[in-house]
């Protein structure tokens, strides 16, 4: 129990330090880097949300884009200042019921998450009876349906024109706090008996059922929690961009998060964080491959827009070949490991496979 207390203290200290870094980043760092940090944090939330269903409960779901869209549109519809709405909805006027309702961002984020979770509950009831590839296809389909409904509900969502004039959220501190709270809640959930039940279902459904674990209840719970945090992440994403558009939520964006969790480790909380940072920052900083390069007066022919993705894909393949279970696998970066490393930095090389007892 003493160890638990120490871990909680260390976590709190780390959070305070990181918050300090966020404050520093907010005032001292240029806006390009700040934007990348913000994106990393948001992607970390959505990545972890996807990891709940895919990595922990073992249900291969590809619906994240749809749930993100719900959260983003909740922010888009309700946080645009009332006096600017006529400019936004210039083609079709906004529905008269909604036109005067303004909700602050924090509440819109929560409501977006709740709505996403409700939709997930409705979808989950029929869909979660499926397994494996079939579940993936069905959730993918539902996420497209959500997007198409949004595109066509013009008086609410402004349809294909998207919603502009969302007060841009360019605040690392705010996004950091939301991310931290999300991570804390999800970690507590996954370390509780619910988390164990998720893992049991992932490992062996029949054995889990024979232990008295309700399959349907837990699958649906995982799916709804996952959608809730995807909705919150989507809301932050919309607020960060300052505009939402159905094209932002094509199913291809789901693959970004699949990439994050496969790279970070399916079933690892800290892995989702690392995956998000590597994928987001990696994609940004590899942009140098997209620009023409001249070495000693000779233009290197391959450097042109598009090369970035080639390099990124090669890096990914290398990653998957050498770390088949992602960077973290199902392991976590715990304080024990960090402290052990600080005490005996080379122990890992001398003796392999030593585990705490």
């Amino acid at each position: 129990m003493n160890k638990n207390k120490r871990n909680i203290m260390l976590t709190l200290v780390a959070l305070v330090v990181l918050f300090g870094v966020a404050c520093f980043a907010q005032t001292e760092i240029d806006s390009y880097v700040r934007r990348i940090i913000n994106l990393c944090l948001i992607y970390a939330i959505i990545g972890l949300s996807m990891n709940i269903t895919n990595g922990f409960a073992g249900q291969f779901s590809l619906g994240q884009a749809g749930f993100m869209a719900i959260g983003a549109y909740m922010v888009g519809i309700f946080t645009v200042p009332v006096n600017l709405r006529a400019d936004v909805f210039y083609a079709t006027p906004m529905h008269p019921w909604l036109v005067n309702i303004y909700i602050p961002l924090w509440l819109a984020l929560i409501l977006g998450g709740v709505l996403a979770a409700v939709v997930a509950g409705l979808i989950g009831t029929p869909v979660l009876r499926l397994r494996g590839d079939y579940l993936a296809i069905a959730t993918l389909g539902f996420s497209e349906i959500i997007r198409i409904v949004i595109t066509n509900a013009t008086s609410v969502t402004n349809g294909a024109l998207g919603i502009k004039n969302i007060p841009p959220l360019n605040d690392v501190r705010y996004i950091f706090l939301v991310t931290a709270i999300s991570y804390i809640i999800i970690t507590l959930l996954l370390n509780s008996s619910y988390g164990r039940a998720f893992k049991a279902i992932r490992e062996d459904e029949i054995a889990a059922e024979a232990m008295g674990i309700g399959l349907f209840y837990h699958k649906n719970l995982a799916f709804m929690v996952s959608a809730f945090f995807a909705g919150i992440g989507g809301g932050l994403y919309g607020a960060l961009l300052g505009t939402v558009d159905p094209k932002n939520f094509l199913f291809t964006i789901t693959y970004n998060f699949l990439l994050i969790i496969v790279l970070g480790g399916m079933g690892s909380i800290t892995g989702s964080m690392f995956g998000a940072i590597i994928v987001t920052a990696g994609l940004e900083y590899l942009r140098l491959f997209d620009e023409p390069l001249e070495l000693m007066g000779v233009a290197i022919p391959l450097f042109r827009p598009g090369l970035r993705m080639v390099v990124f894909s090669i890096l990914l393949m290398i990653c998957v070949l050498f770390w088949r279970h992602g960077i973290m696998g199902t392991n976590e970066l715990t304080w024990e490991k960090i402290l052990n490393f600080v005490k005996h930095p080379l122990a890992g090389f001398r003796k392999k496979g030593v585990q705490g007892k």
Partner: protein, 237 residues
């Protein structure tokens, strides 16, 4: 304790159990032997609620179990050690045990039971932090037994605990089964290893293609000529 009456279970149109009746009295070891496809596993799976029953009834201490889901049945004190062990391979030994106690909420009792199980199976304590998938077959079977014990079952059903294990390990497992029973847990054991199973059984049933062909005490069946020939591999003189 457990009463099964005229149980019929069908997969699609094919009946796997064609009307089975049996009793498991309190505190005893009851064994079910039979060849592949006789319906032994189906019987256990239908008792625990993993398979739907077509007709007939299962009663446990006077409560009807047919129609309940596995959660409700497990909470009544039944548990199944599934065929082929089915431990959770990528979870640690400790996590496996804790999942066994999933239906319980008394943290102190759970901690005490984990300790008790480590006393019964010292080998599991040594491997506390190891992934269950890395254990040997015998250790996995021990873990499956320990996991089932974590729910504090009154009736423990085991599906072929000797499957794929070395003879020495089988002996050890059967000794443990006997001691579990002596500590007050009723056991319903399904086995192909008829010799070992009949030796520990107080009462035994022989199942053939969905029907019960014979019953008697373990000793009676061990000495029965037909059983000897069909299941024990000894020739009639």
């Amino acid at each position: 304790m457990l009463k099964v009456r005229d149980l019929v279970v069908a997969y699609g149109g094919i009946e796997a159990l064609k009307g089975i009746s049996l009793d498991v009295p309190d505190g005893k070891i009851v064994t079910l032997i039979g060849a592949n496809g006789a319906g032994k596993s189906t019987l256990l799976r239908s008792i625990i609620g993993l398979v739907k029953v077509k007709s007939g009834s299962v009663e446990y201490n006077g409560d009807t179990l047919t129609g309940l889901n596995s959660q409700q049945i497990v909470s009544k004190g039944l548990t199944l050690v599934p065929e082929g062990r089915r431990v959770f391979p990528n979870l640690t030994v400790l996590e496996n045990l804790r999942i066994g106690a999933y239906m319980r909420k008394d943290e102190e009792g759970i901690a005490a039971d984990i300790k008790r199980i480590y006393e019964i199976f010292p080998r599991l304590e040594e491997r506390n932090w190891q992934m269950a998938g890395t254990l040997s077959g015998g250790e996995q079977q021990m873990l499956a037994l320990g996991r089932a014990l974590m729910s504090r079952p009154k009736l423990m059903m085991m599906d072929e605990p000797s499957l794929g294990l070395a003879p020495l390990v089988i002996k050890e497992i059967f000794n443990i089964i006997r001691s579990i029973n002596e500590n007050g847990t009723t056991v319903l054991l399904v086995e192909q290893n008829a010799n070992m199973a009949l030796k520990v059984a107080h009462h035994a049933y022989v199942l053939e293609t969905g029907r019960i062909m014979m019953e008697g005490s373990g000793k009676e069946l061990l000495e029965n000529e037909e059983i000897k020939e069909a299941y024990l591999g000894k020739k009639k003189k």
